[in-house]
Symmetry: D2
Subunit: 339 residues, 4 copies
């Protein structure tokens, strides 16, 4: 059995890691840690996990987390780099935060500020070369939720030269992506019955990460116009991703079919069926569909994920499986919870 610890166990990403790890046949759940909530029962924060309800949250320190085979960090950025630096090289450290996603120190400084903690192998196995980078690694930077869905939606088209390098993405998201932050605009009374945009005009921190991924795939700089929209649901992202076609686009479906036919967690839907986030709820899957807009000469890819599952915790466990040499799909559901 692989012994794991979760730092940030009282938050949404931490809760989802535990929900999925409870179904994983090869792991044993060790220390659960938190910041301000240390000393309290997990059941207060995660009432959906009755099997772990009486576990007491410990402090998020290297002492507590060390000594496990795998440590998942679900912490604010900055904090995870700090703790990771104190964990031994033989521990597999999987960072669900942003600290080690960007390659470029200047980009880090511009978008997050402060010193760059360095770049770790990037946890998106479905990108070209992505899987290989994760084998036997002891450090994984889990992608952001928007970069996960957006990169997988556009990578095949860019890699195949089907579209030009100016992409436009509008991604609608549930509110759990913002975490348990006590901010007025995240209150139920504000969110329900309303839609709003934020981080407009390239201001969202996931923008450079999407650009990094897509530029890597296409071998040249890709410009990314990215707008996130907040919608009244707890979980789920639906990304509408478009890019100018370089030709007629007749081969679009074939390109996607080929790219993802062997991927266990990416489902290109049958023609005529469009993704819904609910079909992915709680599962580690991406559902997608492509269309060629002849009049506008653009490719449109619509992709759905559960932001906490494939978008964070499920993706993180998938990376753990690869890094540890376990079958990649171990313990990861492809079945959603609907309706």
């Amino acid at each position: 059995m692989v012994r794991i610890a979760v730092a940030g166990a009282s938050g949404y990403a931490g809760g989802e890691l535990l929900r999925l790890l409870l179904q994983h046949p090869e792991v044993e759940i060790g220390a659960l840690t938190a910041g301000g909530n240390a000393g309290r029962r997990l059941g207060e924060f995660q009432p959906h996990l009755p099997l772990l309800a009486d576990r007491v949250l410990e402090e998020s320190t290297a002492e507590v987390l060390g000594g496990h085979d795998v440590v998942f960090l679900a912490l604010p950025h900055g904090r995870s780099a700090e703790i990771a630096a104190q964990l031994g090289g033989s521990t597999l450290v999987i960072d669900c935060g942003a600290d080690h996603r960007l390659r470029d120190a200047d980009a880090w400084d511009r978008w997050y500020g402060g010193e760059h903690a360095g770049h770790w192998p990037y946890g998106l196995p479905e990108l070209p070369g992505g899987r290989e980078a994760l084998r036997s690694t002891t450090r994984v930077a889990v992608p952001g939720c928007f970069p996960t869905v957006s990169s997988l939606a556009l990578a095949p088209a860019l890699a195949a030269g089907l579209v030009g390098p100016e992409v436009v993405i509008t991604a609608v998201t549930g509110t759990s992506g913002a975490g348990k932050s006590l901010k007025p605009h995240l209150l139920g009374a504000e969110v329900m019955g309303s839609l709003s945009a934020y981080g407009v005009g390239g201001a969202h921190r996931h923008t450079p990460e999407i650009a990094q991924n897509l530029s890597g795939v296409s071998g040249r700089p890709v410009s990314v116009s990215f707008t996130p929209v907040l919608a009244p649901l707890p979980r789920g992202i639906l990304a509408t991703c478009t890019a100018p076609l370089t030709g007629a686009g007749a081969e679009a479906r074939e390109v996607y079919d080929k790219a993802y036919a062997a991927e266990p967690f990416v489902h290109l839907l049958p023609e005529g069926q469009w993704p819904t986030t609910k079909a992915t709820l709680g599962s580690n899957t991406v559902h997608l569909q492509v269309a060629v807009d002849v009049d506008a000469a653009r490719l449109v890819v619509v992709a759905a994920i559960d932001n906490l599952a494939k978008g964070t915790a499920g993706g993180a466990i998938q990376c753990m499986n690869i890094a540890l040499g376990l079958p990649e799909t171990t313990g990861l559901p492809t079945t959603g919870v609907a309706p």
Copy 2:
């Protein structure tokens, strides 16, 4: 007093027309008609309108509707053209359906099929020249909800040459836009907790209407990539509209400020504040904000409306006011219902 009739009074658009007309000081509500629901009390279908609860729905025929000063048609397309043809020229007929929106018979045939009923003055007064076209008219084609918000979001930039003519729009919408259609994907259990796209790749019938409006404004063909997304809320559209900048875009805010400063129903929000659909709920307003994405070299305009109010019934009443020579804002709320 202006005597009005509403055809399709048991549906969502009909209900919203009545809700707003009850607040209008210059009108008297005459015949209320329906298709299959004729003979039943309005209160069964519109329990939020207790003042009209005991009104009995009549058949939607020219006999019943004739003899009013104004007839609002909130009917399926095809049906409104049929009835309108039988109504006298002195009656102001305001069609909330699609029959008379498109100028081009071929476009009509491609998107809707069948014979083109002809083009009527288009009910979007805030477009350049829009107000003038409506004065003293006896026929108004009320725009679709998506064309209303999208056209107002992009018209100033296109008119000013701030952006090029290839626009990308993703509009997230509540479910009332689909009407009271009994379709499985509109059931509460399907809609709540889920997001989905539809009419992707230019397949939505509002696409040619948006293109018609924007091409008219910019004086050359505008290509429109339009994707509607269904989200779990009853009312509201939030449109994210982007287009490639022709220059640095420094004048963007000024362009919008100038375009809408005098418009009573279009609010350019203060810098730093982003639209929410809830702020427009039940009101006849458009809330919008602009951003320049320097990295992606695109203008991004985010605009919010209530699809049933400014997007349908409110817009229709605004047109009635203009056509009848009443003050344009008579009876139309700019205050939303929130939270």
Copy 3:
């Protein structure tokens, strides 16, 4: 014109007061005050009120509030009593908080703690004698939202001796009733897709207020089993109120019909039609329906209100109208916003 001030204008009750007062033909909106938000624009907090967007919030002090004809207090309990004590007797002070609702100082101490600020005329005109108590008063204690709907649901049956004095109430509520409190369980991600109970077993502070009202109506002590349930919607309360029948209950409908036939804001629905909160959204109405459960020998009354409108701000303005000698319905909508 009556000059009014609103203390607590950045909160939900304050926002709703302003939304309704903007539609009131006899008032002029004066000072708007806040606690921590003083100095900021109202538009930051109430984007649905564009007509007041540029008003700057002042401090909630007697200096600022004094000099108006009417002062609405939408403040945490304790704070309103403190300010009210400093306002002159000629000002009409309408307290939307709890400070002056309970007659009994011991009950105040048990449920709220601290010194009792005293009892003011109670703002529920539809209760027997309720209207008279409000004429020419300069102090009004606006009822809690649950007491409003529960008392109106059960008062006629108790007054008529139709039921015995042991009542059971389960009231399902939207989340705005809790205000803009930044508490984890009110976050959108927690609320959406979930139901929960709170204040169970008589622990909710509205319980003694309901008991006070119903005991007053029936002339003997009424025991109240009250359970509030939190549901995923922003606004609305649906109360299911039951009590043991003293007889066969055949006259139930007649009793309610008689009680409320002349009330402008209470609608007994036609037989077979059941209340929905949405039909009351944004309006000052109560919708209700009664049923006799022969097997269980209980009367069941289901009543719906908008907690912020008839349940708080609308009820407050109705009281203002009465106290000032204006027609009671002035400026108050009976039309809801649906769907």
Copy 4:
């Protein structure tokens, strides 16, 4: 491996049976049948089950369903009795519909009408004697969702004589309980942002089933005042169940603790923690909490379930496990999906 068939596989109960059976290690999924949807791919109706997407729905006939070890019937009432009558006695038939729940033919006739198909062993193992009735049976009547949660909430108190036999239940439910019925009041635009009651005054068909269960437990007739409330969420029931205390109620918690300590799927929450439906989402659990209301002299039990899981499909599989002699918890999650 146990070979199972599911009749009604395109509906909500059928989908949930399949979702859970896909996680069950001892079963193999055989025929999937439907009514009007026969001949179509399962993936059209259950996009969250990609592993079964290409299965084609067959006709719901005894020919197709026969030859499996277990047949789950998720069909309208009447239809399941008809099919069950044609299935051999050696097949375990588990009816998720109402046909075989009521013992009393007169009650059947009053509530459902038509001929009584007879009474089968009742699938609520947690009731006293419930588990024993299911061992080695080949016929199971799965309880309704409201009877499941209500009976488990009140049975211990009635069995212990803690409360008298007049119970009052208000159960708030998500909309999937109504199935995929295309009815206007179930449309998303109607449901979202609204609350409504239905089947008030003892008119809901689950009332006699609750009375049957509770009368059985207490050994004397129990009168049930039951009101269901529809709320805007897809899944989940929160039942508030109260009854008059016979004494002081001090032993209430101990009674519940004793009753459910050994039950794997019933969780009495720690004192001070109240159930939320979300914590049970997708799991086979009941979460409950008890309170003694001293002022009202009533016991209040609040219980939460997922209506499709423990309330239907999970409960059905639990019964299958017992009937087949498998460990009762096989394949059934106790972990919910939150937030």
